[in-house]
Symmetry: C2
């Protein structure tokens, strides 16, 4: 299986879930920490964290710790637009 095609479809897979799309829409307005995202979406913290991990793993977002918080922001240029 072609490596580039696999990578491309993996990127799409990262975006193929409504919670993850919602998270990205939140982050399009600027960086945010997990708690704010959680309040925005109104779902359990572990669920948010899981999806943030998937997006981060796919190279769509990145998280930087600042004290107790982790601030997430979009790094994928195609998603940032």
């Amino acid at each position: 299986m072609n490596k580039k095609i696999q990578k491309l479809s993996d990127k799409f897979k990262a975006l193929s879930n409504p919670i993850r799309v919602s998270i990205l829409l939140c982050l399009l307005n600027g960086q945010s920490n997990v708690t704010k995202i959680q309040e925005c979406l109104n779902i359990p913290q572990s669920t948010v964290s899981k999806h943030l991990g998937i997006l981060k793993n796919a190279g769509v977002i990145e998280g930087e710790r600042s004290g107790l918080e982790v601030i997430y922001s979009i790094v994928d240029d195609n998603v940032k637009g």
Copy 2:
């Protein structure tokens, strides 16, 4: 769950599989029938047909029957580029 977000993530889901991405790359060069796509990818006919159905269902491609063949082509403007 927001309807538009659901639709957007569904579109991404249609593209989240390497076989389906490969099919679309085939079709970017112009319309094609199932047999040609199958030969291009070298996988079972039923597998190709299944994935064509998923792409069609997602509104990414459309198929038009012409005699024994069904000719598929890309209809999604974002995918066509």
